[in-house]
């Protein structure tokens, strides 16, 4: 579902789609959509952190360089800004030119987030961003996200019902690829309208 929002599903071979996705007055699924621009506007962080095989700094500037940005000062500022936004700056600022794989799992996940932030997207898609992390790292990532909601629209596929209840402003419940219910988070989790949502939230299946 997340990969549909920025058309990453184009890379997969077999996908069945119906419906429409509107972002800023444009239908994302329209075949004429400029997917390159779309993906810059709608960033994604995957469940398993995938750092590119280069240094920490290069990971962060990669997207900007693809867009043709070569200004050194701007790139350096972006590195600092996005690392700070992802709460990683204090841990890595003295080793930006180390290979990114030398970071721990939680750090890599925040680097992936910073990498998306570096592009100044409008929407950030997060696919179970804490699924591989321990509770402490999870807390750090969630706290970071909390701060980011003021500036970005975040779409998060939660790792657990508890996480969803904890962090969501609005929540949507999907079952078998179909949207069942969409409501403010508090309402969906405390007073769901659909029987299936209720069953799921109360842990009768899932």
């Amino acid at each position: 579902m997340l990969r549909t929002l920025n058309r990453l599903n184009d890379l997969a071979d077999v996908v069945q789609l119906s419906g429409q996705i509107w972002i800023d007055g444009e239908n994302v699924l329209d075949p004429g959509t400029d997917t390159i621009a779309l993906r810059r506007k709608v960033g994604i962080v995957f469940a398993r952190p995938v750092v590119l095989p280069m240094t920490i700094r290069q990971n962060l500037t990669y997207g900007l360089e693809l867009a043709g940005n070569k200004n050194r000062t701007f790139l350096n500022e972006t590195v600092e800004r996005s690392l700070k936004a992802a709460a990683l700056w204090d841990e890595v600022n003295d080793r930006l030119d180390d290979p990114a794989v030398s970071l721990s799992g939680g750090q890599q996940q925040r680097l992936c987030l910073a990498r998306v932030l570096a592009l100044e997207p409008e929407i950030i898609l997060l696919d179970e961003p804490t699924s591989g992390l321990d509770p402490i790292s999870t807390g750090k990532v969630e706290a970071t996200l909390e701060e980011l909601t003021s500036r970005y629209t975040i779409v998060l596929v939660p790792h657990s019902v508890q996480q969803a209840a904890r962090v969501s402003d609005y929540a949507a419940f999907f079952l078998g690829g179909e949207l069942i219910e969409y409501a403010p988070g508090k309402q969906l989790f405390t007073n769901p309208q659909d029987k299936r949502t209720e069953d799921y939230v109360e842990g009768r299946f899932g």
């Binding site: 920025n6 990453l8 890379l11």
Partner: protein, 294 residues
């Protein structure tokens, strides 16, 4: 457990240990037997050829009906042919590999291409030689020339380069591609900046192994470029040239009264050329493996 049961159990374990020991010895022997001929060939060739090796052996033209002097024209010819083969086969092979691994949809057509490539690798080299004679030398009127020889060798080398390069490209994790695309990269940017650099060591290894085979082949150059004897070095790609493998064939079978050390000296030079390429390939591969981050 009775005494006899314990005894039987003990014997069974002993028997298993013995079987294992025999097995290991057998496998070790097999490994040794395969390595032995290679070592012997190299040692024998260098031992027999050593007396012929001198500075002038590399820098002089053959003299006295090739029974004396050096083998300079054959060395130069083989270098030219190897370079020519590389110039033709590397861009073509790499392009084909990138297409097959990154762009080609998985359908009957691309499967046919793959099967064709695999089968090309199995064609006997003398058939490539005849094909080169027909197409390049006669039909396209390149004559027996470095151009015709390089083209023939390139066609023979292509399958090796394509299949190793495609394998190296496919080995790059697809998650890198997805991430690069998700950051607003085009597919070509992704290939250029992520996939190719990561696959480069594997690709280089394939190229070198392919060229090494080309450098040592006799049959493909037999009808397309190789000269029995030429008193001067080639001056353009439309000249015929002498080449090490064919020269070795000539002096081993066609010239009576040939001093044996010149034969083995020539073999030693060809062998060193090929082995040093092999060594470079091995070094590239092991370095890349140590550096790889996935």
């Amino acid at each position: 457990m009775s005494i006899s049961q314990m005894r039987n159990r003990f014997l069974l374990i002993e028997k298993r240990k013995l079987t294992q020991k025999l097995g290991f010895t057998g496998l070790g022997l097999a490994a040794f037997i395969t390595v032995l001929p290679i070592v012997l060939v190299v040692a024998y060739v260098f031992w027999k050829g050593w007396p012929a090796i001198s500075y002038t052996f590399f820098t002089e033209m053959p003299q006295d009906g090739m029974r004396a002097g050096g083998i300079l024209p054959a060395i130069v010819g083989t270098l030219w042919l190897t370079i020519g083969t590389a110039i033709i086969s590397v861009p073509l092979g790499l392009g084909a590999a990138i297409y097959l691994s990154e762009y080609a949809p998985e359908n009957r057509w691309t499967r046919t291409i793959r099967i064709a490539i695999i089968n090309l690798a199995g064609i006997p080299s003398v058939v490539y030689g005849l094909f080169g004679l027909g197409l390049f030398v006669l039909f396209l009127r390149f004559g027996t020339s470095i151009l015709a020889g390089s083209l023939t060798l390139a066609i023979m080398t292509l399958p090796v380069i394509i299949s190793t390069a495609e394998e190296a490209l496919r080995a790059v994790p697809s998650s890198f591609r997805v991430v690069s695309i998700s950051l607003g990269g085009t597919q070509w940017q992704t290939i250029q900046r992520i996939v190719l650099p990561q696959a480069l060591p594997g690709i280089l290894t394939g190229i070198i192994l392919g060229l090494e085979r080309a450098a040592g082949e006799t049959a493909p150059i037999l009808f397309t470029v190789a000269a029995f004897f030429l008193p001067q070095l080639p001056s353009s790609i439309f000249d015929a040239t002498m080449a090490l493998p064919y020269h070795l064939f000539v002096i081993s079978t066609q010239v009576p009264g040939m001093p044996i050390q010149i034969q083995y000296g020539t073999a030693a030079v060809l062998l060193s050329f090929v082995l040093s390429m092999n060594t470079i390939a091995t070094i590239i591969r092991s370095r890349a493996r140590a550096k790889r981050q996935w």
